[in-house]
Symmetry: C2
Subunit: 314 residues, 2 copies
DNA sequence: CTGAAAGCGCTTACAG
DNA sequence: CTGAAAGCGCTTACAG
């Protein structure tokens, strides 16, 4: 229909050089009139790229999916992809996964929600598959993107100290994730001088946050502040504080983390640490695509800034 | 390596009949020794199936993604797929979308979060692409799966009536979605006899829920109960009730909808209507795959039961 | 029961 | 700047 060969159409579609403006226009017109869109399987088979990247959610129960954090990241990933590349979702890390991923079905992978010293990212990396991990992995030397959890937690804790609080507790995240460890480290650093003994670990759920808060109150009825390493856990903590008759912030000041959609409507509205989760997803994807496009000198890791948001709870 | 032709290998891999046991064994042995796995793109190109389905999120801002509902559905979809079929995520409904989807790149599509009288599902259906819509579409005659929103809301409202409440308000969902309309209809039905004038529409966010609750209290300071058509809005409503000195449930009884992870940790814990979102996703996928596999006499629509969960707020 | 051959719809050297 | 031709790795009639 454009009056040119298949080769020329291919060049136009792939933005290759050495195509006359006339040919280019004719092809574009024909594409528009035909509503043509290239066959994905054929491109993949003929070319050497799969034109797809995998988003691997490395969590047995896929619990992350219920997390607004993941939703925001997904939105960012998709936005950055801009329709150029397919996004294939993989949620059940299995034995076949490594074979599948390194079998040329995808050009690269974003791996999120890694627990413990999961060997998966290093394994994929060793097989030559470009990957980027969302959240600092505890094992392996692979590229990653993460929020600056340490400094966010540090700032949150310093804020509590600046309020004159002295018995400051911490509801920390899981021990087997960097996000848990780094926010805890930030709290410890912010406590300099004050006794940093009031720590309870919890999973990122309201239920676990409640349990941890209850344990802390049992251990130290005189605590006057708490840094909770995730808003979703802070909801549970607020509930326990309310049940036990502690006024927030008068008796106990509370700072969360994430600035999730829940923070502003908590009772009282939650002072928290904002991280831009959509930007997280965009950065993850940008880093991977840059590598796929052969960019040189890319940073091995990227830390995204966080920011304290002042509301009523502290 | 197996000493047979490509054709025979293909037959063995695809479980076709008319292959001798000897040939079959030889092929299996060779596959194991070589660690062979078929090339997805080649299969797709040669066969007539794409071995992939699309999950289309038809929402301009992709706000749904932040919703635990969507997360649960996604989990269900993935579970039901069981690794057999690729899941391709599409989030920016554009002009190209119809061309892409009906261009043979996917075997079928699941469409969720439809607003208003979106012509998309009917368009795809007319082009011959098997599709299933998540949540009753307001326009078009296409297969869908939905929660039984009407009966869930009905039961919630009857519960409030059975408590002796007489001034029962409703924070309804968006007017342009069936989920908003059906829950409102259920409330109206449950109010039989009582004046059903206290309605405010809101988007599924805590902020909007708060705004609607405030408006209702302004209109009817004497209201003694409220059915809020989503837990995420109920959080905002609870906040306003608390700010205005209304005790829950003593002064105002509250029932939500969804039984999201937030309901149990709300203050007070929220009585709500449970819908099994993972099952929602599984059913959606089952229905689509059944059609792809040529099942006959499939139900055009499937309604999933809901259930009232009693907690403290009503 | 089995194999030779065509073909799925592209990309990519290669030759002009 | 452009086109003819080979080939990506499978499936599927077709013929034996």
């Amino acid at each position: 229909m454009a009056g040119v060969s298949r080769s020329t159409v291919s060049r136009v579609i792939n933005g290759a050089p050495h195509v006359s403006a006339a040919a280019r226009d004719a092809v574009h017109r024909a594409i528009a009139r035909l509503g043509y869109s290239p066959n994905h399987a054929a491109r993949t088979l003929a070319g050497r790229r799969a034109n797809a990247i995998a988003l691997v959610v490395s969590e047995p129960g896929s619990r992350v999916l219920a997390d607004p954090f993941f939703a925001g990241v997904l939105r960012g990933v998709h936005a950055e992809l801009a329709g150029q590349t397919q996004l294939v979702l993989m949620m059940n890390p299995s034995d076949d996964l490594v074979a599948y991923l390194s079998g040329g079905h995808v050009d690269g992978a974003i791996v999120v929600s890694l627990h413990g010293e999961d060997p998966l990212p290093q394994l994929l990396h060793d097989k030559g598959l470009p990957i980027v991990v969302g959240g600092r992995p505890l094992a392996g030397a692979v590229p990653y993107v993460d929020s600056d959890n340490f400094n966010g937690a540090l700032e949150a804790t310093r804020h509590l100290v600046s309020l004159g609080r002295t018995r400051i507790a911490c509801v920390a995240g899981p021990r087997d994730m960097a996000v848990g460890r780094d926010r805890l480290s930030g709290w410890r650093r912010g406590m300099h001088g004050l006794p940093a003994d009031l720590v309870e670990h919890a999973d990122f759920t309201p239920q676990d946050g409640a349990k941890a808060m209850a344990a802390l109150l049992d251990r130290a009825p005189d605590l006057d502040a708490v840094f909770v390493a995730a808003d979703i856990m802070a909801l549970g903590a607020l509930k326990i504080l309310h049940e036990r008759g502690r006024r927030v912030p008068e008796d106990v000041a509370v700072v969360g983390f994430d600035d999730s959609v829940l923070a502003a409507t908590a009772v009282p509205p939650l002072t928290t640490v904002r991280q831009d989760v959509e930007r997280f997803g965009r950065t993850l994807t940008w880093r991977l695509l840059a590598e796929l496009n052969g960019a040189e000198g890319l940073p091995p890791s990227i830390l995204l800034p966080t920011e304290l948001v002042h509301r009523d709870s502290a």
